[in-house]
């Protein structure tokens, strides 16, 4: 999705926002480089002085020594300036890169979960690493070099004209086709550079998925297919990179051939001028010495132009993410959540509507629901009926597209997300744990401000109680007890174990509102019953919304709401709904009108019979 065709300059100018602190040093460093190149250019002039002066005329030894000393002095000065350039630009350049990287990261943390779907993991990673690396390299090297090379070429051109107007004009004539070719090169390269960066991002995504999905790939023995896909993708990237190289190669041909050809003409012409005394030998020497100095800068222009366009692609990709406005920002004048009423917090959903994207099918189509203070409400519905979506609206992980969610009478969009999420705790069905000790994972459920005020012993108590309620006794049998590091960088826990730690985390902070997404799905019946009992005790004053797939989870709730087709079609007590609500009965028993569990070998479910045949 390349942006509208803004000019490369304008696209890159937007980097000033991040480069500003380094700007004075970049300018100073650029000037140092410029002066260094001018010095390099001035050496031929000194040479001319020596040739035309002492060597061809008066033969003064002192003058020769002086000239050599002058060259030495200029040489030392050049070295100092080269160093200054490094010190001035390169180091702050890394600072700019870091700032951009952390800004991108912060921005992504601020973007709502839904916005993350727009980019795959690898694309985001590539933007944060590869793209920013390209931008930094361009900023500290490409940009400066581009300025220096262009200036060198310009000054060199002027010097050539001054030294010998006729030869200078011959040389400059070569610039016309070069500029035209450069323009064409830019048009083409811009497109492929962007494509290459996008493909690199896709490749990173493939790597990420192949690692995250390793169990699936192994279980089905699909490693070779994944490899094939990956190699095909990598080969596409290779193709694009070669396309880039071909474009660059054409450009470097033009930049090497055309100026040198004009020099061949100039050589013939120059010698003729000198022979006919229309120009001095010194001037001729100086002209070609200048040309020699210019060879590399001219040659490098193609590479620098390519670098610039690569950086532009990287910048565009970075800015695309940065430009994504958080659809779900904090209000300008946030309201504070009212203090928790003693009876508990009231949560209300008013005509709530939700669609994942504007114009797409509404997942929730006008949900009205009230959770009275301290009440536990179970949400029951078929897979895909929008239960999980509804839950995420309360801590504002998603925003309603219509209607409102109110916590103690305050619209959740009027408080800061920080305050809201301090009051509302969540346990996901797919428990996400952090790479940290069990203790730290559980304590994450407690607001940081609060943790700071707790004594060591209190903290241990909070952790123990929470783990207790969640029946996570297994923790104490881990190698280092609650200090055992879990998560991706630590010990792998089973699904049921992770669910229990996540549950402990959700309840550790005694939140005002608790949102549980089928939190016991991976637990066995006995454990589930124990956890349920514990939760009932803890949840006495916590207003709880729990997604339930099973009667045993419904047992947690005071009331049940049935979500059907994006609407609440029934609210009431379990027994009543079971008796009156056909859909409810279907969801919880998959049958109509019969609540009895199938006895062993029940002929209505003849699976075992069939298999035994």
């Amino acid at each position: 999705m390349p942006p509208p065709d803004t000019s490369t300059t304008r696209a890159l100018l937007r980097l000033v926002r991040w480069a500003r602190p380094a700007l004075p040093r970049v300018v100073a460093g650029g000037s140092a480089t410029l002066v260094a190149s001018l010095i390099a250019l001035s050496v031929p002039q000194v040479l001319r002085g020596v040739v035309n002066g002492p060597l061809l005329t008066d033969g003064s030894r002192v003058a020769v020594v002086q000239a050599a000393l002058l060259v030495l002095l200029l040489g030392v000065l050049e070295a100092v300036l080269v160093w200054a350039r490094r010190a001035l630009i390169a180091t702050p350049g890394t600072g700019v890169e870091r700032t951009m990287r952390t800004d991108l990261f912060r921005h992504l943390l601020d973007l709502p979960v839904a916005s993350h779907d727009r980019w795959s993991g690898g694309q985001l990673l590539q933007r944060s690493m590869g793209d920013l690396h390209t931008v930094r390299r361009w900023m500290v090297f490409g940009l400066v070099q581009l300025v220096v090379s262009s200036t060198t070429v310009l000054v060199g051109g002027v010097l050539m004209i001054v030294t010998s107007p006729l030869l200078g004009v011959v040389y400059l004539l070569g610039a016309v086709p070069v500029i035209w070719l450069g323009f064409r090169f830019r048009q083409h390269y811009k497109v492929v550079a962007r494509r290459a960066r996008d493909q690199a991002g896709d490749l990173a995504t493939s790597v990420e998925e192949s690692v995250h999905g390793i169990r699936v790939l192994k279980a089905f023995g699909r490693g070779d297919d994944a490899l094939e896909d990956f190699v095909r993708q990598a080969d596409e990237l290779r193709g694009t990179e070669l396309d880039k190289a071909r474009a660059q190669s054409r450009m470097s041909f033009a930049l090497a051939w055309i100026p040198e050809t004009t020099l061949a003409v100039a050589l013939g012409l120059g010698v003729w001028l000198a022979a006919t005394d229309r120009a001095s030998v010194g001037a001729l020497v100086a002209f070609f010495a200048t040309a020699a100095v210019m060879t590399r800068p001219v040659e490098s222009l193609g590479m620098l132009l390519a670098m610039t366009l690569d950086a532009r692609a990287g910048t565009d990709r970075f800015l695309e993410v940065m430009d994504a406005v958080p659809a779900l920002a904090d209000p300008e004048r946030p309201v504070a959540l009212p203090l928790a009423p003693s009876a508990g917090t009231r949560v209300e959903l008013r005509d709530v509507r939700f669609a994942h994207r504007p114009g797409s099918r509404e997942v929730l189509r006008g949900v009205d629901l009230v959770l009275e203070p301290g009440e536990t409400l179970a949400l029951v519905g078929l897979t895909g009926s929008g239960k999980t979506t509804l839950l995420q609206l309360v801590p504002r992980l998603y925003d309603v597209t219509g209607g409102a969610v109110l916590v103690d009478g305050v619209d959740v969009r009027d408080v800061t997300r920080h305050d809201l999420r301090g009051a509302v705790a969540v346990a996901f069905e797919d428990p996400i744990l952090f790479s940290a000790s069990v203790r730290d994972n559980v304590l994450m459920g407690v607001p940081a401000e609060q943790v700071a005020t707790l004594s060591e012993a209190d903290r241990e108590e909070v952790v123990r109680t929470a783990l207790d309620v969640a029946r996570a006794g297994f923790v104490h049998r881990l190698p280092r007890g609650v200090d055992t590091v879990i998560g991706e960088e630590g010990l792998s826990l089973s699904g049921g174990q992770r669910q229990r730690v996540a549950l402990a985390r959700a309840i550790a902070g005694r939140p005002r509102v608790l949102v549980l997404d089928d939190p016991l799905s991976a637990l066995d019946v006995a454990t589930e019953a124990e956890v349920t009992a514990g939760l009932r005790r803890v949840l006495a004053t916590t207003t709880t919304l729990v997604v339930a797939h099973r009667t045993s989870t419904v047992a947690l709730a005071d009331r049940v709401a049935v979500l059907e087709d994006g609407r609440v079609t029934g609210v009431g007590r379990h027994a009543d709904l079971l008796a009156t609500h056909a859909h409810y009965r279907y969801v919880l028993t998959a049958e109509c009108g019969d609540d009895d569990p199938p006895p062993p070998g029940d002929p209505r479910l003849p699976l075992a019979e069939e298999v035994r045949r």
Binding site: G75, A79, R86, D117, V211, H212, A275, S494, A529, P600
Partner: protein, 611 residues
Amino acid sequence: MSATTAPGAATPAPGGPARDEHEDVAPAEVRRRSLGLLGTLLRPVARRATLTALVVVVAQLALVAGPALVAVGIDRGIPALRAGDSGPLLLVAGGYALTALVAGTFTAATVRMAATVSQTVLLELRRRVFRHTQRLSLEFHERYTSGRIISRQTSDLEALRELLDGGVTTLAASGLAMTFTAVGLTLLDWRSGLVLLVAVVPGVVLTRWFQMRSQAQYRRSRTAAARVIVRFVETMTGIRAVQAFRRERQVAEVYAEESEEYRAANAEAIRVNGVFDTGLVLIGNVTVAGVLLVGGLRVLDGALDVGVLVAAVLYARRFFAPLAQIGMFYNSFQSATAALEKLSGLLAQEPTVPDPVRPVRLPEPRGDVRFDGVEFGYADGPTVLPHLDLHVPAGQTVALVGETGAGKSTVAKLLARFYDPRSGAVRLDGVDLRDADPGDLRTAMVMVTQEAYLFSGSVAANIALGRPSATRQEIEQAARAVGVHDLLASLPDGYDTDVDTRGVRLSAGQRQLVSFARAFLADPAVLVLDEATSSLDIPGEQLVQEGLRTLLTGRTAVVIAHRLSTVMHADRVLVVDDGRVVEDGSPQELVAAGGRFATLHTQWQESLRST
């Protein structure tokens, strides 16, 4: 497996990213290994690389010829022309035009050829790393973290690319240019050549210093980059939890610290490189002044032509011009070596579940499963299964029941050969899984786990993972069988709908159904289901079970489920406790026997009746 960063952790986790793959290998060995890798990568492109170098040589020759031609033009062309002979002039100018054409053509060819070499090597390395990580066992993956594998495949490869893109040709070009220039200068005037030789000594000293310093910095930089990537990947994978638990600030702080470390490592590497560069420029410039001084004085003595002096000084300047390039090459070489150390470290990892040397084919698997005296524990951890003997005859459906952590999943993973036992053997149709042909084994046996991972791409493609050759009709049949067809057909683009990144838009239950359809399509002789239905609602589960009824006919199945509704349909139930089978029999028998299973059964019945 979603996990993310350690927001509260003051110290890095033990066994965290600080631990590196070459921690216990001697530095010299690491360097040898990484250069060895570079060698094997370059060998197939050796001819092309040599050709590239040759092309570079010609391009450089053409460029070097320039000043010589100018010198000839001035020294010979002018007097000749004055004498009325335009021959030498035309010859020189024509020669110059020719070199211009050669220089242009060959420079252009260099760019293209260098890119071909570089991209060929990168493709091969990408392929190797990908294939190798796929072959490595789960044990490795659980330890290494996905972020570091990604960092190997992205930023480390990028570092190598910088070397390959410019490096090799730069080295050839610059090195040869310097050699040619030196030779040219020596031929022109050997005394001036001698001055150059003197300058080489400080250059070598400087290079040695740079090598030592930059190597340390680049290693630091590679490690830091990996950390930044690990943090990024984990955070973005777990973004929902980060936001829900308001960890944004803490996570951002940790990330900022790690980015700063990466920055500092880079800045230091750049600083060292700056000193190196500056030193090279200085050496060069002093030498040029020396050539001018010595040559100038000799011209005054009449021992040297002015033209020769001009050429000598131009040569001297040219000699040192590529030095900056060589400095750049050496810099990227150091950086690439550090990356190669990491990459070769990853490639040196041996799979703990290796492919058999002489694979035994399983052309028509029956599905007879045996555990013979199996002992197992994860890595060097405690024993999980002390001694398991188990025979599952072909066609039987076995349910494993027991508390979390009892070892049920371990049995499933051993059966699917995610791990190998410490002693004893797991056999399929009498063949030790360690000897079985890996391809045949995966066709014969499929495992469906609780975490239903979906890959980006269409729903159809995700199901087709079960059997890539399946037609659309077969895919839909599989979906129908597990009762997910209506849902999938109702998606915006039906079966062609892209599952959103990270699979967020399909619910956990729906994802499990899709992964079930995969297994259905795979049609294996042995099916291992590890909590594969945990997120399904009851109607969904029933649909799946009806599908299973068809699927499991004539098949062996090992089912782990905490829901007794699933378990009750098995032919046989094994109650596992602490790595041992404590009850074994049909569900009815066990209920009647009044053991642990009977208790579970009673609890389950009560839970269904409650409220």
